[in-house]
């Protein structure tokens, strides 16, 4: 079945530094979504980006569909960005959503 790998597993930055998160998936996806999960567990959708490049605020996602990878770039990180970033894939041949293992980001003041 579909597998989603995220890297790095964890990342520690100083405030103001940029972060680059990676998501690799094993089979074709028709939808790809990046989420932020707070330490309390709640999920917030950041970007839906099945292909190409999308921006919102300090976030930029680039998905190369044929290479089965996506990245999330966070510019000028802030302490409030700390949490876990999840990549989720919707397979083209099943009605199944598969989440990655996540990248835990810690931004220090």
């Amino acid at each position: 079945g579909q597998q989603v790998q995220q890297s790095p597993a964890s990342l520690v930055l100083q405030e103001g530094e940029n972060a680059e998160l990676q998501c690799n998936f094993s089979s074709t996806a028709t939808q790809l979504q990046w989420f932020y999960q707070s330490p309390g567990g709640s999920l917030v959708s950041l970007l839906s980006n099945p292909s190409g490049t999308k921006h919102t605020g300090r976030l930029t996602s680039t998905t190369v569909t044929k290479e089965r990878r996506s990245s999330l770039h966070i510019s000028s990180s802030q302490t409030t960005d700390s949490g876990t970033y999840l990549c989720a894939i919707l397979s083209s041949n099943t009605n199944k959503v598969v989440f990655g293992t996540g990248t835990r980001l810690q931004v220090l003041p």
Binding site: T30, Q31, Q33, F35, G41, S42, L43, V44, S45, S48, L86, A88, L90, S92, N95, K96, V97, V98, F99, G100, T101, G102
Partner: protein, 114 residues
């Protein structure tokens, strides 16, 4: 604006006891609905999805069942809880087919089975 509500917020239950978790979406007719589960420190797993009232598809078998008795309501339940059911349960909705549209998540229910 659409809102999604889950209840209860948290629950502590005994092994073998029944469970019912609820999810309600307001402000959107005929949403697609989803249940997810996350073990502590684990990966989110999709459990069920529903496209319409009375129709639920199972994705992962965890000795749980789901029902959609109303357009805006999604229920997750079991008659006998297992220790392995502990974790965080999230309900989500999307406007269109999930292979084309963004999913929006509720605040979640934290379950501890003892």
């Amino acid at each position: 604006a659409q809102t999604i509500h889950q209840w209860p917020v948290a629950e502590i239950k005994a092994v073998g006891s029944p469970l019912s978790l609820g999810c309600t979406i307001k402000g959107k007719s005929s949403p697609n609905l989803y249940w997810y589960w996350q073990a502590t420190g684990g990966t989110l797993q999709q459990l069920f999805y529903s496209i319409t009232v009375g129709q639920v598809e199972s994705v992962v078998q965890l000795n749980l069942s789901a029902s959609r008795p109303k357009d805006d309501q999604f229920i997750l339940s079991t008659e006998k809880l297992l220790l392995s059911h502990s974790g965080f349960y999230l309900c989500a909705w999307s406007r269109g087919l999930f292979n084309q549209d963004t999913q929006y998540f509720g605040p979640g229910t934290r379950l501890l089975v003892l």
